[in-house]
Symmetry: C2
Subunit: 145 residues, 2 copies
């Protein structure tokens, strides 16, 4: 019996041939996508940053949030120097597929000013000033030098 | 007795001379600031959009979210045609003062696709596909025509 293998025909079950689900995401004219970072437990918004495809791939691959620093032009692992890592619990996208919402387990604090969340200022009810809602949990000078 | 009024001297208690607290906010190179919209009650993230100074001023003045449509180049009151208004409960900003976090009471749904939140797609745990988390609450064709 002769068996002919047609090795040029793509295998229907080849995992590597499956489309990358991240390919549906739309990056802006600077090749960035905004990422909203939410505490997976208490639903507090911790921070907002930008990812490029490289930092998103790293985030998905490692399960730890990586961002793209626009000012320094480099990839950064959040918490690399401070230890304040963000472990990914879920990744959502919006109807337009051009924003990410990432739920994380936050180690320590999210904010460089030492607050748990970067959103620690609220407009007062009379709209006359910004009120600080929280106290710093760490001394930024000790963590970031 | 002669009374001289120096009307060119600014009054110390003139409310219009008080600095606008919104002036600390930093708008990007397109004169926009990102706004994260959160359900004030259950802390779900409902949507993400951009405001310019005009739409932010309108939001603060009226207590209803107004945005700047980049595609249409115009101010829009969220819910103007659908009735799905967003009543502002609080406005926060982040450490860099270049992002807004607005807690709202959402009437109806936030998403044009009929879902309560625009963030209705989640990356599956095996990272192979996007899973839809919710069901549409309204028929968008009936609301938006």
């Amino acid at each position: 019996m002769q068996v002919t293998l047609n090795i040029t025909r793509p295998c229907l079950y080849d995992a590597t041939a499956m489309p990358d689900p991240l390919s549906i995401l739309k990056f802006d004219d600077k090749a960035l996508i905004p990422a909203i970072i939410q505490d997976a437990d208490n639903k507090q918004i911790l921070m907002f940053a930008f990812m490029n495809k490289l930092s998103l791939d790293k985030t998905v691959e490692t399960g730890l949030c990586h961002y793209w620093s626009r000012s320094r032009g480099k990839l950064w692992l959040k918490g690399e120097s401070s230890g304040h890592l963000q472990k990914v619990r879920s990744i959502k996208t919006d109807c337009d597929q051009d924003v990410l919402l990432i739920e994380v387990e936050q180690a320590g604090v999210a904010c460089h000013d030492g607050y748990r969340s970067c959103f620690y200022r609220e407009l007062s009810p009379d709209k006359s000033q910004w009120t600080t809602l929280d106290l710093p949990r760490i001394d930024p000078a000790k963590v970031y030098g």
